[in-house]
Symmetry: C2
Subunit: 128 residues, 2 copies
DNA sequence: GTTGACTTTTACGTAAACGTAAACTAAAAT
DNA sequence: ATTTTAGTTTACGTTTACGTAAAAGTCAAC
């Protein structure tokens, strides 16, 4: 398995190294270390970072993202744990679904506003 | 036309009065005032607040929301202005569309993870 | 084997988005 | 008429999510 350095990841995702270290500081990523203390990131760490950045784009706080990651990531072997995780997942899924619907409504509204503006522009061009 | 007081709006949207005043401070809402200085909010102000809060849920900054509002709100009569507004609107529409697609992908992933968890739970129940 | 790029920790700084408290005024209720 | 209750401004405080700088160690290249 090969590793990424922090600056490689930073470049790939166009974020600062400080940002990546901050996510670790908050417990969202846990890269291994070389003997001298340098961070090494696996494909899994990379995937986690990708997830975090996507979550951020959706407006989730790091705290929320942390919650999601740790629930889905940990191997929840016990039955109770599994049930709890499923319930949580269903809840989050519902939230995402609502968000999609909300966004689609916004899209509709924007489209109708745009149509209105285009009509106005046409009328202006008709006069001229 | 009847008005809302600041605390009425705050209650309706479950935000603090400070939050509403802050949005005004940043130029996002402009309620009229009574002679004594009290803020009075029209239906339009209410709609604007609703828009702001929706934008926030989507992870837009107040600055971005401000930009959108002022572009769509102002009566852009001039032809150049109209064209500019339409271009901006198309850009924002594209962003929203991408966001929706992004979210739908996330939804898919969550559903597949959930399906996997459910399967595991079934197996556990089969044993017991 | 030394220069230069990279990394580490520590720590202070900062912008955004409010929270909170004080000091005061106006409105509503009793 | 006088308590509550609600509203106003001013201003300092707080959290989140990093930016930035310093001081020191390390890796890669020439």
């Amino acid at each position: 398995m090969n590793y990424y350095t922090i600056s490689q990841l930073a470049e790939q995702f166009d974020v600062s190294t400080r940002t990546i270290r901050y996510y670790e500081e908050r417990g969202l990523i846990s890269p291994i270390r070389t003997e001298s203390g340098q961070r090494l990131y696996t494909k899994k760490d990379r995937a986690a970072l990708k997830l975090i950045l996507r979550g951020k784009r959706f407006g989730f706080s790091l705290e929320e993202i942390h919650e999601m990651i740790s629930l889905f990531d940990n191997d929840r072997t016990g039955r109770k744990q599994l049930e709890k995780t499923i319930a949580y997942g269903e809840q989050k899924l519902k939230e995402v679904t609502e968000r999609i619907e909300d966004l689609m409504q916004l899209k509709q509204e924007m489209e109708s506003i745009l149509a209105d503006f285009r009509e106005r522009l046409q009328k202006l061009e008709g006069i001229e």
